[in-house]
Amino acid sequence: MIRFENVSKTYEGQSKAALLNVNVEIEKGEFVFLVGTSGSGKSTFLRLVLREHRTSKGHIMVAGKDLNRLASWRIPQMRRQIGTVFQDFRLLPNKTVAENVAFALQVIGKPRSHIRKTVPEVLELVGLDGKEDRLPDELSGGEQQRVAIARAFVNRPMILIADEPTGNLDPGTSVGIMKLLDRINRTGTTVVMATHDVSIVDQMRKRVIELENGHVVRDESRGVYGYQH
């Protein structure tokens, strides 16, 4: 589903590479933790998958397509197959829960009837039924992140990318979010999650890819957060 072939990325104006010679293959339906200290290259890894940046060297294949060869006008199409969740939720504060989720479908031109049917379904899936008309301000952090996950998942993407989704949440709430991501993963969606949260990684026992200074230093199926802890 996602394949990195000898990928290096150096940002403009920087001498040090953010990623160096990374080779990773993530299969369809896998759940992968991306761990490493701040600045190890996790965010660069995710941005490259989203094609927010181009690689400096090497190729990235997402769903069978070489991102370097993707014409820029096809990038939006590609992104529709990837859902994204961030630490800071990124909800629109003046839209209700349902409107925030519907927004993702409206802007890619889905018909209204489809939106009316899909949005309640996905809100129920993430456990927010009954809160459709609340504004983000009126929700707890965990609930806001559920809205963000609903928005990322409402178009049934093949891949879900989560950049520290539990970074702003307390441990109890985080467990709920992880259960939700696990449930989404069980529907066949590939999940790639960058995290600092040791206990979550240790509990879930999923594949762990550790980055350090832009290198992959560890890649274990059913791994734990790491030996340094």
Partner: protein, 303 residues
């Protein structure tokens, strides 16, 4: 593409940037009005040149009973005098070959009736009161002095009118107006361009959250650009329509109501020319709105 979302976006965008949008509209309005006036001034010059200037450069008016010119003796010009005058003109080296046209009283009256067709004056004038004339075309319109002095004072010649003498200052004034209007219009249009790109920058900043999410979930670039484009197009259209209205009002009051009444001898720009000018203005207005919008949105909404 769901039109209602886009339209609601457009409404929100316009409200948010109302003062900037008004500034853009006013700038486009004024600049396009000036631009349109310049176009009309140009049409006017072309009309005058086409109708008169290139065909006839000198008119030699012949004596009637009432004329008091130097060559007149209180009587009508005689056939003999006419032949003599024609001969002098035709033999002059500056006269174009076959460049002499005699205008009879009848023809002069027809022309008069045509020019003053809506005026009560027509009924008070008779064919007999018209003046016969020779219309002369020159080889080189610049060299008229020689012929004028050769003909002036001949028996039977009332006055010699050199059209250049009258038209040149007018053309100079019209050309000056045209250049001035064009320069002012160009400056204002540059200002409009910068205003538009500033407005878009502000709007893109105000909507950065939405835009960020749109990009993330894979909205097409066109979809993201569209509200900005519509905003710019709407502002440009309003400005262009106001400018067209201004031009029509100007043509109606200045040309149709006054100039045409006062200077009937010339053909003046009318509805056809104004319509043509307004079409050009609308197109220019739209291009000026769409092009910078595309460029600016591409810059600020980069994928």
């Amino acid at each position: 593409m769901r039109l209602n979302y886009i339209l609601s976006d457009l409404g929100i965008g316009l409200k948010r940037n109302l003062s900037m949008t008004i500034a853009v509209v006013v700038t486009i309005w004024v600049s396009l009005s000036l631009f349109g006036s310049a176009l009309l001034a140009r049409e006017q010059v072309e009309l005058m040149k086409g109708n008169w200037y290139d065909k006839i450069q000198i008119s030699v008016f012949l004596c009637t009973k009432d004329s008091g010119g130097r060559g007149c003796s209180g009587a009508e010009v005689t056939q003999e005098q006419k032949n003599r005058i024609r001969q002098v003109i035709e033999s002059n080296p500056d006269t174009a070959p076959d460049g002499v046209f005699g205008e009879s009283k009848k023809e002069a009256f027809e022309q008069f009736k045509k020019l003053y067709k809506d005026s009560p004056i027509v009924s008070t004038v008779t064919e007999d009161q018209m003046q016969e004339s020779f219309r002369v075309k020159l080889k080189d319109p610049q060299r008229y002095q020689n012929l004028v002095s050769a003909v002036a004072g001949l028996p039977g010649v009332d006055t010699v009118q050199d059209l250049r003498q009258y038209l040149d200052p007018l053309f100079k004034a019209l050309n000056g107006l045209q250049v001035g209007a064009l320069v002012a219009a160009a400056l204002l249009l540059v200002a409009a361009l910068m205003q538009i790109s500033n407005t878009i920058r502000l709007a893109a900043y105000a909507r950065r959250r939405e835009i960020g999410i749109m990009r993330l979930v894979g909205a097409s670039n066109f979809y993201i650009q569209l509200p900005f484009l519509l905003e710019a197009v709407l502002a440009a259209l309003i400005g262009a329509v106001l400018a067209c209205g201004t031009l029509w009002v100007g043509v109606y009051f200045v040309v149709m109501q006054r100039a045409q009444e006062t200077f009937r001898v010339w053909q003046w720009v009318g509805a056809t020319e104004t319509f043509r000018a307004t079409l050009i203005m609308v197109v220019v207005g739209l291009v000026l709105a769409v092009v910078p919008t595309f460029l600016t949105t591409r810059k600020y909404l980069k994928v």
